[in-house]
Symmetry: C2
Subunit: 298 residues, 2 copies
């Protein structure tokens, strides 16, 4: 997509990642939520924001889909349906709420379900489970609940903990494969038996790869998505680490014209929780700014 001035020469070329925006699991959860909301006109609740994108959350509210921040907000409310979001939840919490008097809809991403399942399988087969991921992330908290008491969570910065003789690895679905390679290289020097389930979601891996390739070819990268979205933040971090000028924005309102001065190529990418309509608005605003700037009207 090229922005053209009235003089007929290209000013700013915008390349948008093919894999920018909603992944399979997020699209599925949003679709499920809209379907349920249509069935239940008094409104439905999601356990935590269903995705980490404030603009999408506002749209969902308008359709009767409301986030509950804490399960303890439940007893005082009379609700008809509760939706578990893509990240999943700890199995103890699932057991607790599944016996309550409302419809429970599990929109956990199937890839996250896989990671939970493999963590449990490894535990049952006598492995000490190591989860590669961010221990504060809800997805990891859910997986941990299936992984046994001796579970360890490590990230790229972690020192390796003291490990047992049989170690099983599962991975937060949005981790970069490079982090898994690093963990494997580290662990294999200390442990004789390692079983790995590479539960990284392909969509994440491909989005990171595409973004990384793109970052090498453009003057500036615009990363679109919730400031509270781990995978969007990871994309921004990746671009910065590749030494390309990078801006992480939630909406087109944050774009600044001076970012595109003397700029020929702009890359646009977006996290798994960023809807298409926000990406389109960002593209359009960059075109407008490129046009204006090159015309020298300001």
């Amino acid at each position: 997509m090229k922005s053209e001035t009235g003089r007929g020469y290209p000013q700013v070329e915008i390349i948008t990642a093919k894999r920018a925006g909603f992944c399979f699991g997020v699209k599925r959860a949003i679709d499920i939520s809209f379907d349920i909301a249509k069935e239940i006109p008094e409104g439905v609740y999601t356990l935590g924001p269903i995705i980490h994108n404030p603009q999408v959350i506002e749209k969902l509210k308008a359709e009767g889909i409301f986030p509950l921040n804490d399960i303890n907000d439940l007893p005082g409310k009379s609700i008809s349906a509760l939706i578990i979001r893509t990240h999943g939840i700890p199995h103890q919490l699932y057991d607790r709420i599944s016996s309550q008097n409302f419809r429970l809809i599990d929109a956990t991403c199937p890839f996250v379900k896989n990671a939970q399942h493999y963590a449990q399988l490894l535990k049952e087969n006598g492995y000490q489970v190591v989860i590669l991921g961010d221990r504060s992330h809800p997805e990891v908290k859910g997986i941990m609940s299936y992984a046994g008491d001796d579970v360890e969570v490590v990230d790229e910065q972690s020192q390796l903990p003291r490990l047992k003789t049989k170690v099983g690895i599962v991975v937060q679905t949005t981790q970069p494969v490079e982090a898994l390679k690093k963990l494997l290289a580290n662990i294999i020097e200390h442990v004789k038996e390692v079983k790995v389930y590479n539960t990284i979601c392909n969509s994440t891996a491909l989005r990171l790869k595409e973004t990384s390739d793109m970052a090498g070819k453009v003057d500036v990268m615009i990363v679109v998505g919730g400031k509270n979205s781990a995978n969007t933040t990871q994309l921004a971090y990746l671009c910065t680490s590749l030494s390309v000028r990078t801006y992480h924005i939630e909406t087109e309102e944050e774009l600044k014209k001076e970012w595109f001065a003397n700029t020929r190529k702009v890359g646009v990418t977006a996290g798994a929780s960023t809807p298409d309509w926000i990406i389109k608005k960002v593209e359009k605003r960059i075109i407008d700014m490129g046009g204006e700037s090159c015309n020298g009207n300001e």
Copy 2:
């Protein structure tokens, strides 16, 4: 150990690797062979040279321990005992010779036995087995026989073959851990379930590590061991790759005085099949050469 001239100052400092020479498995096999040879005065046979060191083979012959190059040499000979060497043999061959009319002594290294066992276990559990190693090495040929029809052998230079969805890895005991890390990094991008038994022998790993550390601190490295010894050749290759001047010799006879001109520090290391007495002779000859050279007698 320092070579001193008559003038009382050090000339050539020799550092010998603590882990140079016979590993546990080789020492055990040689001890077993000597014990059996004492029991059977008419002599015993080993299936292939028991270690890859021509000088040791000559010593063994003097004690009544003879290598058979091929199992097909057997029928014409009347023998009392046959020794399986540290590398192990394919199980089909084991089955064939174990029913014959002589004593069969299995001196397969226990760590190689482990690798064979894990290859079989992986096969039985539905994994496609990948062996990291040299496909022409007898140890690898033995492990392969336990690994199922879809086994693949890869080395550091290999392109990754087309793999199934569940891959199990075992490793030739003398491989460097860096090669395993590289394989894991490669494989984990393509396969969702990987089980690794790190069957690299610690003694090999520590010898490589010690040699590598030493190579960074000396002017020249002398690597002692059979030219047909894979692990000795690997040590020499490692030193060369670290840009230190390196000579691979079998005995002290090959040493050349000019190698030590303007040399302060000499590192000596040796493969798992190199006996102590050869290492001692090499050390002594270097001292002699250093002394002579510094005295300016030639």
